[in-house]
């Protein structure tokens, strides 16, 4: 025992490195004063090497002893003093720590680019301590300058942040079985993207929970984005009646003309409308026959069996397949937001997005109709994407003429990205091309195994809550390094408000307790002001404007 150490006790020190390797992790012998029971798997620690400081995560906790006879012939520890001395010395606790990053040292890359993946291990006797708030900030960034507080590491109150500009560079996914907190997480991500100004959002809001208000435990209300960010958010609605009933006057009521539906859109509905391949493909023949923009209305106008069989002859498509297709497409006629006239919903959406506003499209009662959701999301996205491509290409070198980066949020994403279909759909295209045209996806899904593998592997950052099945876990982890360890972490998540985050927006995989959403404090932390504060702000703004 070195002199002077007798009374000096560092509360966060855990022990020191005594063995290990980069592949298996390093062994840390706990100091006699640190109890194994106080260190949990998944905890963050720092390892102070000779020349570098490492950031690591506890992957195992074990009991060791210096006396091989201990387990066969345990000592009499009835005397509390004896027990206290023996535990921690002859019988000690040990940790396995995986060094993930180097956070300081003499590598110049550290100064330029921040934490770097660990390529070596700390030397023998490196002091190991629980990571401090500052360490976490050093690794994950601190709030502000594009970093958004998404939750806290387990057993810590420290705010853990996502790098939002990095996040929106690629398409991302939020996964988890029903009720695990996907919607709450997604709402936070949307708020983070909004606050960072790194992109604008377009949300296809199936269950009407993002725009004006959502629901939490036991039906309690939580504020939607519009209530928190007011003029920065526009709520569009497909179902004005439903929006009004929920106390909201939509900024725009979206209607879709039959003329806007393309044969491509029908492909995605194959499963939902239970169409055979032949029937679905017939839409292309009809499009050729009647002309783009007219085919659906004209096809639905064809009456009677005879009419259909005549059309079959004219187009060379099987008559029964056509019958079936018409029968299924008649369901679209019952959708209240569809009609014969042309509309400029896409133009309206773009107008808002171009002004830097975030658009939530509420489906109202149509959210329960999967065909409606798929059709509208697909149709609007396809056309918005086309506009983005045009504009991005004509902007060529001129960055300022480029359209604003756009993040499109879809739920039940596997319906859009099923293997086989994904390669042909607009969503598959966007997911695969990593913001080539400034558009990325935020896919929200409870059944990731239903999503095309290639799309899954293209997702930049995955945030996943507890999952139902092995297949879903496999799907989320495909192509991820260290997936064996992550798998066990994933399996041990709590059933609510906990998530594993990994990918580009974080320097290393991390389990978080998702930031709380729904209390007045949570709103305030997102910049929300109550009525009183709003009035003061308004007066100030008027003052600033008119002097």
């Amino acid at each position: 025992m070195a002199s002077g150490e007798w009374s000096a006790e560092n509360s966060s020190r855990l022990g020191m490195v005594v063995a290990g390797s980069l592949t298996e992790g390093v062994q840390v012998k706990l100091d006699p004063d640190s109890s194994v029971e106080s260190v949990k798997v998944g905890a963050f620690v720092t390892l102070q090497g000779e020349r570098m400081r490492f950031f690591g995560v506890v992957t195992d906790v074990s009991l060791g002893s210096t006396d091989p006879m201990l387990s066969a012939s345990p000592p009499d520890v009835s005397d509390p003093y004896v027990a206290k001395v023996v535990s921690g010395t002859a019988a000690y606790g040990a940790l396995t720590v995986e060094p993930m990053l180097t956070i300081s040292g003499d590598d110049p890359a550290l100064l330029l680019d921040g934490p770097q993946p660990a390529k070596t291990v700390p030397a023998h006797f490196a002091e190991t301590a629980t990571a401090t708030e500052r360490d976490i900030e050093l690794v994950f960034g601190s709030e502000g300058d594009g970093h958004f507080w998404i939750g806290s590491p387990l057993d810590m109150d420290t705010r853990l942040c996502l790098d939002v500009p990095e996040l929106v560079m690629r398409s991302n996914g939020v996964f988890g079985k029903s009720g695990t907190g996907k919607t709450f997480l997604t709402r936070l991500l949307l708020a983070g993207i909004l606050q960072s100004r790194a992109a604008v959002n377009l949300v296809f809001d199936m269950e009407n929970e993002y725009g004006w208000r959502g629901y939490g435990e036991g039906g309690s209300e939580v504020k939607g984005l519009k209530q928190l960010f007011h003029s920065q958010v526009a709520v569009f609605s497909l179902d004005e009646e439903s929006s009004k009933r929920r106390g909201l006057t939509p900024d725009y009521v979206v209607r879709i003309g039959y003329g806007e539906v393309q044969a491509d859109d029908i492909q995605l509905l194959r499963e939902t409308l239970d169409l055979s391949d032949v029937a679905a493909d017939a839409a292309y023949s009809l499009e050729r026959h009647f002309g783009e923009g007219k085919w659906l209305a004209e096809f639905l106008a064809v009456r009677g069996r005879e009419g259909i069989f005549e059309l079959a002859d004219a187009t060379g498509v099987n008559g029964n397949a056509l019958l079936r297709l018409q029968n299924r497409l008649r369901r679209l006629e019952r959708l209240g937001f569809m009609d014969d006239t042309g509309h400029d919903s896409v133009k309206q959406i773009l107008r808002y997005l171009d002004r830097g506003m975030h658009v939530v499209l509420e489906f109202g009662r149509y959210g329960r109709n999967l065909a409606a959701y798929i059709l509208v999301a697909n149709l609007l996205t396809r056309r918005i994407y086309d506009r983005y491509v045009e504009r991005k290409e004509s902007a060529s070198e001129d960055k300022s003429a480029e359209p604003r980066p756009l993040v499109i949020t879809i739920e039940e994403a596997h319906k859009f990205l099923t293997p086989g279909v994904a390669s042909q759909t607009i969503f598959g295209t966007i997911a695969r091309e990593m913001r080539k045209y400034n558009v990325t996806l935020l896919v929200v899904d409870q059944r990731p195994s239903g999503i095309d593998d290639e799309v899954m592997s293209q997702l930049g950052t995955k945030i996943t809550c507890l999952l139902d099945s092995e297949r879903d876990i496999d799907a989320v982890l495909t192509g991820t390094s260290g997936s064996r360890k992550l798998r066990s972490v994933l399996a041990r998540l709590e059933s609510k408000q906990q998530a594993l985050v990994f990918g580009h927006a974080v320097p290393m995989p991390v389990v978080i307790r998702t930031r709380e959403y729904g209390s007045p404090e949570s709103y305030q932390s997102l910049g929300w002001k109550d009525a009183e504060a709003m009035r003061a702000q308004l007066e100030q703004d008027v003052e600033d404007l008119f002097g």
Binding site: M1, S3, W6, P32, T66, D67, P68, M69, L70, S73, P75, D76, V77, D79, Y81, V82, K84, V85, V86, G88, T89, A90
Partner: protein
């Protein structure tokens, strides 16, 4: 025995241990006590590892008095020459020394001289010597007497003087554990003896 009291003088010395003969029969510091030979600036410190009383003439041993003896005190009163025929001796394990005023907790370069006076230490001096316990292995490895008892007795005495005895016992216990790896039962045996102080 009072702290600072003269115990006797060195009659046999080596670098690792020395023997002191007490000035007075039976007037010896207890097992585990810290003693010093030499003055404050240059001194050798040791722990009493064995106390023995024997005949001064190695060839002659005391004989039992038999049934006529009424009490021990009476025997000594009737035979005052016993005090000169026998002596009490200490065997001391060297644990530290002071050189140029500096405390070093390892062996001195040379042993005490014969006839150096030996004093009992305690209080601040005992705490100073035991501020760190890197000399415990020499006590544990002592070839004299029962090293485990000596070590435990020594630690009990330090704890008794220490402002935070709990803490001292714990730290000392851990120090022992570090030196007794693989000897768990020996360790717990010593610890129990330390605790019962």
């Amino acid at each position: 025995m009072a702290i600072g009291e003269r115990v006797g003088e060195v009659v046999e010395a080596s670098t690792s241990r020395f023997v002191a003969q007490c000035h007075e029969l039976y007037r010896a510091p207890p097992l585990g006590a810290l003693v010093r030979s030499g003055s404050d600036g240059e001194a050798v410190y040791g722990v009493v590892a064995e106390v023995a009383t024997r005949s001064l003439d190695p060839g002659r041993r005391a004989m039992a008095m038999g049934h006529s003896a009424e009490s021990v005190e009476a025997v000594y009163e009737r035979h005052p020459q016993l005090n000169r025929l026998m002596s009490t001796e200490l065997e001391v394990m060297v644990v530290a020394h002071r050189s140029g005023g500096r405390m070093e907790r390892f062996l001195a370069p040379s042993p005490p001289r014969i006839h150096d006076i030996v004093y009992v230490c305690g209080g601040a001096e005992l705490l100073e010597v035991s501020e760190t316990l890197e000399f415990l292995p020499s006590l544990l490895g002592s070839p004299v007497g029962s090293p485990d008892d000596v070590t435990a007795a020594f630690l009990r005495r330090v704890a008794a003087e220490h402002p935070d005895p709990e803490r001292l016992r714990l730290e000392a216990g851990r120090e022992l554990a570090a030196h007794l790896t693989g000897q768990l039962h020996r360790l717990t045996g010593i610890l129990r003896r330390v605790a019962s102080g």
